[in-house]
Amino acid sequence: MSELSTPFRERAAHALDDRFLQQALTIATTKFIGLRREAFDAFPDGDALRDRARQIKEATLQRLDEHLEQLIDNVERLGGRVHYADTADDARRIILDIARRTGARLAVKSKSMATEEIDLNEALLHAGVTPVETDLGEYIIQLAHERPSHIIAPAIHKTKGQVAELFARELKREVAADPEELTRIARAELRQKFLDADLGITGANFAVASTGTVVLVTNEGNGRMVTSLPRVHVAVMGVEKVVPSMTDLVVFLAILAKSATGQKLSSYTTLVQGPRRAGELEGPDEFHLVLLDNGRVRQIAGELREALYCLRCGACLNVCPVYRQIGGHAYGYTYPGPIGILLTAMLHGGGAVKDLAHASSLCGACAEACPVRIDIPRMLIELRKGNVERAVAPGPEQVVFKTFARLLTRPALYRLVAPVGRLLQRPFVRGGGIRRLPLFFGEWTRTRDLPAIASRTFSERWRDLEREGRR
């Protein structure tokens, strides 16, 4: 959830000072941008499919109740069980109940932002169930007791040397800092966990209403392992992840991987329907689907409705000039980047993003990159507006801007005050700008320069020119 012991400013400053992080972020985001561009350049239908996908998301929300009913009916018809979680706490309790009832001791997880969102791992540990993240990146950060820094590349902030150290500590032996070797070690370690685990926990990239199918997209194959080997499978999904039909599903599949990693499809798209069937060797004895609200439902008619279209591809992170500088951790919540600010507001309320809502230059690159064309800047402005209306902006800042607005709309007053300002600014002007102000204004100028008030105002100079012209 959050790492709010330090304010956003400090987290961002810390990130900006981390040279390796800066380098890793530049390399990763630049690579993802290139791969995404190539994928769409080679795919002439891309734009039409993005429009199609956007339509499907909106149309699905317009009949969300019907699609969810159908999904629930189908899951139950197939022998699965559906649970309803209003909050993160509800979701944790539901999953812990399942773990307790089935006597689970070891849980394997495939990468899932929804389970990050509800802080599931900690809850499982407290209940005596060992959760093991099986996506390689997630496994690394779990060993390091950290949080994902990118939606689809959770460990991009780690060097191979750091990963080798982590593995060496965990396995109590020497480990070479070679990605191939490190991957081989993780394969062996995690293979045994897959075979031993009682509980498989996943998110859902999509859930198909007309068939009751949960769809998982992975490159490593861990989504397949987790849904095939343990005796119980629990899938956790936000209510907005439902898609009406298989025909709709393939539209999303055609754009998801291209947006995320530039692949035409990820290595594995896994469609699972209920528990193991008669005659099947593998698959879980029990299948549970947890439908999660956690702030989503009130946005159906809220200002963040459009954020419910999000596919969690990460494309908006890579193109965001702010994300590219500060990385995922500085945002302080589960979901980083431009869409992350909106999702954080959805989960924790607008007040939680009073600083984050400004961590954007509103350049629009995110909306451009989004496969379903979510207008992220529009909603960021809404959030900023909401925060001003709720007066969460610092008091002095509000006073200054209100005064400033009054001055600018009253020319007579402005003409009167400008010479006074010129006098007052004198001690602070350095090279034509104000770089540091005293008292609480100092916070504002710490990262900003103000232009100095000119020695003669425009209207004064205009008056002079007119006088000269007349001469």
Binding site: A28, R52, L136, I140, N219, M246, K264, L281, E282
Partner: protein
């Protein structure tokens, strides 16, 4: 804890407050998916050569290894070639009824200890565990293919009786055998088959999983260095049989 009615009730309350952002419709679904799928298959049969070429290009692009043989009887030689080069000793295969052909004898005679999965009705838990251990210990898994997708170089595999999910997952080498029947051109066409497979009661052999496999298992989670075979197979081979698998 919230029940279904309360949960959906709250969603309806919110839905009533808005008509949405813009008028929108979902993707048009075929009304008789099975019929459409049959028609599509007949159309595809006329241009399978082009589709195969395109499949090969895309399959190789995603890191697959492509092979082509004349008849089903030639398949064991290809599998044995792959196995010997990689010092693979034990193989598992889908049940012959699911593959369309029985290669057990030829593979075993060629030095590859081969076990086929049972056709149906897995016995007591002990037997299940034993089979699972066998798959987990195998070096090579042989499967059929339900769809081979030219647009993406993907293999679509339906799980079920005689077709365990992990045949294409646990062994480090996956060999998938297919013929022209499986070829489709696009993801859109995959959508038609996905609709058809869920139209009405499923066949008795059908299982609960469908996998779309696009190349080997891969990760780039450590410094973006591409590595194969992290959890699933590090190699995927596709063997095309000109003469077909069931004839």
């Amino acid at each position: 804890m919230t029940d279904r009615a309360t949960f959906l009730g709250r969603i309806r309350t919110e839905m009533r407050k808005t008509s949405g952002l813009f008028p929108a419709t979902t993707a048009p679904r075929p009304s008789h998916p099975r019929l459409i799928a049959d028609t599509l298959r007949r159309e595809l049969a006329e241009r399978w050569r082009d589709t195969l070429e395109r499949f090969r290009t895309e399959f190789e692009r995603v890191g697959g290894v492509y092979h082509r043989v004349s008849t089903a009887a030639d398949v064991p030689d290809v599998v044995l070639g792959i196995a010997h080069e990689r010092q693979a000793r034990a193989a598992i295969t889908w049940h012959p009824s699911a593959l369309g052909t029985d290669w057990r004898a030829a593979l075993t005679a060629g030095g590859l200890a081969t076990t086929a999965m049972p056709a149906a009705g897995v016995g007591p838990p002990g037997e299940r565990q034993a089979l699972r251990d066998l798959i987990a210990a195998a070096d090579l898994g042989v499967t059929g293919v339900d769809l081979a997708v030219a647009e993406t170089g993907s293999l679509v595999l339906l799980s079920g009786s005689g077709r365990p999910r992990s045949t294409s997952l646990l062994p480090p080498y996956h060999v998938a055998v297919f013929d022209r029947e499986a070829l489709v051109e696009s993801l859109g066409q995959v959508g038609v088959f996905l609709e058809a497979w869920h139209d009405g009661e499923p066949a008795a052999w059908r299982g609960g999983a469908i996998n779309v496999i696009t190349g080997p298992s891969r990760t780039a989670d450590i410094e973006l260095t591409l590595t194969r075979g992290v959890h699933g197979p590090k190699e995927v081979h596709a063997v095309f049989v000109d003469g077909g698998l069931r004839g």
